[in-house]
Symmetry: C2
């Protein structure tokens, strides 16, 4: 008990005569006022307890309106911003969500990032962006290390195995994007119907020999696309080829283009636009005309797909919206609303955007 009054007096003194004390306390005059104000400074200025300030800011209806106004004025005057760290310490929440993408470089993910950012901002949550470099180890590592710094995770095109995913989702809230999972809520692009649309398009242009240009083997959506491609093309009685895997970058396009030409296929469905654009460049360089000699269909409709040469026919999907939906699902998981069970799966519709990289089959 002997200590308490003393410490109390000290804090009062600080508030009242901060300037006076500064002179002898700190060498630089500005040092004291520059130190960011704490809840205690606000409390002192408003003449209430820190707990009241805390409540006034968190649950305004829990305090008398007059008190609240006084506190708000005091906070405004001091330019007070509560420390999210301190806040998180006791609440256990960080008010941040980590978004893990395999490759920041890939424009596809930018749309996800943008969508997520948008929705997170609306909810007042901070986005932590992480590039996992297409590696499941880095992904697991980030998931582990950031356990304490994020309330939840959005895993874009996760490279984790089902078991890993299940394990992780047991301990931390997450939403997967473009990666089916029974253990966590998922946002998916409706790949199957998109591939079927694309094949339909090629078929209607008279193509009989088609080729799937594969992306990363660990990519779930790559597997799905190939599966549906094979089934549907076979059903249509087409000659089916497959080449790859290729890294989904424009630089891999050259190899992919050369391989595609060798198969003799006249129509290609490519894992994604990046690769497709790379192929376009190579084909042009080799004097193979698109679409006269070969038709190319990409996937994702990324930035650039509309102005490459020729503009790319591609599978469009509302990626940005998918990012928003993923965030919504995650936030729903974090703040369970009474009653309504949160959605476990969102499938985003796709459509084929026909531009100029597809045309009638040769002859």
């Amino acid at each position: 008990m002997a200590v308490r009054p003393a410490s109390k007096e000290r804090s009062t003194a600080m508030a009242d005569q901060g300037a006076a004390e500064t002179a002898k306390g700190a060498p630089t005059r500005d040092a004291r006022p520059d130190r960011p104000p704490t809840i205690r400074d606000v409390a002192a200025l408003a003449g209430v307890a820190t707990s009241t300030v805390s409540r006034a800011l968190a649950r305004p209806d829990r305090v008398n309106p007059r008190t609240r106004v006084r506190i708000e004025e005091a906070a405004a005057e001091l330019n007070y911003v509560p420390s999210s760290q301190a806040r998180g310490l006791s609440s256990g929440r960080t008010n941040a969500v980590a978004v893990l993408v395999p490759d920041i470089t890939n424009p596809f993910y930018f749309d996800i990032i943008r969508g997520a950012q948008h929705q997170l901002k609306a909810a007042g949550v901070t986005q932590l962006l992480v590039d996992t470099e297409e590696s499941s180890e880095m992904e697991l590592d980030a998931l582990h290390k950031m356990r304490k710094s994020a309330d939840g995770f959005i895993l874009a095109a996760s490279r984790l195995t089902d078991a890993q995913l299940a394990e992780v989702s047991r301990t931390q809230p997450l939403v997967t994007f473009n990666r089916a999972s029974t253990s966590a809520p998922t946002v998916m692009i409706d790949t199957p119907s998109a591939i079927i649309q694309a094949l339909e398009h090629l078929a209607s242009l008279g193509h009989h020999k088609v080729c799937y240009v594969a992306g990363p083997p660990t990519s779930w959506s790559n597997q799905m696309r190939w599966k549906v491609f094979e089934e549907d093309a076979t059903r249509r009685g087409m000659e089916v080829h497959r080449i790859g895997p290729y890294t989904p970058k424009t630089t891999s396009g050259a190899a992919a283009a050369d391989a595609a030409v060798r198969t003799g296929a006249t129509g290609c469905i490519v894992f994604n636009d990046l690769l497709a654009i790379g192929m376009l460049q190579r084909l042009q360089a080799r004097g193979i005309r698109v679409p006269a000699d070969m038709s190319i269909i990409g996937s994702d409709d990324i930035f650039g797909a509309d102005f490459c040469n020729p503009p790319l026919t591609t599978i469009s999907s509302p990626i940005e919206q998918a990012g928003r939906v993923a965030v919504s699902m995650l936030l729903a998981q974090l703040n369970p609303l009474s009653g309504s069970a949160s959605r476990q799966l969102a499938v985003m519709p796709t459509h084929l955007t026909i531009r100029e990289s597809t045309g009638p089959a040769p002859q």
Copy 2:
């Protein structure tokens, strides 16, 4: 003194018979083990004080190697991850850096983000990405609100006034990118020499009438580019035009293209590639040939500039590297190394990348 032994015994008891206590303490068997381990759990398991654990992890040479090994084993066994929040609370640091960009949508900033992310990750610092939507209010707001959640800021193409910038940099460490500032360290793209190179290029191709297609008036780099453009073009005795301002997006390209054509200029230097690509599309739609009828030079060499139609001649700059440099400068500011004063200005070299959107002047 009466209290001490008691509290000590309690923590010991927890460590020894944690499992036993669980049965009656918590309703669900799993609740206890699932709660993330704290430093206290590690200390108990290793049989030392929490302070020792803290030190063993922070300054390994401060504890006996044997003790350290014991602690490390305990930490590993419990899968312990220190809470960055708690850590930050006492140290006052967050180990996070906020990167503010005017528009996440713009591929130009992707490279900055990527570069920054790369360097930050190397330093074990988290990146907080914020889109300020080209608004100085949002920028100020973010700067204010995140004061406590970030150790420093990187302001890409800041929209703040000099006074605002000076004010802000007085209280928080920051580095500006593409925005000159006397109050904060800056990373800049060497715009002047780039513009001169571009004009030189146009001049050598026989162009006499040139036009600057302006970007956002609040953009410092836009102002600089115009200034140098006007000076140097005038010096060369060229007919100088200026149109704009335009939003730096491909969608503004149509208006810009039409206006550019009306000026009668045969060569355009455009604020950035986004706008330039938009112009390319419009010109093509109108049947105006590039470069036969008009030459276009963009700026930034963003993703897509190499595969648009025609591929864009543009001012390339090591943007990603600029992002890395910006982070380095910020980190240097945050952890001042004894002696060496940190660099206040970095100017990134630029060069003209000549592709196919520029050619001899008509006739």
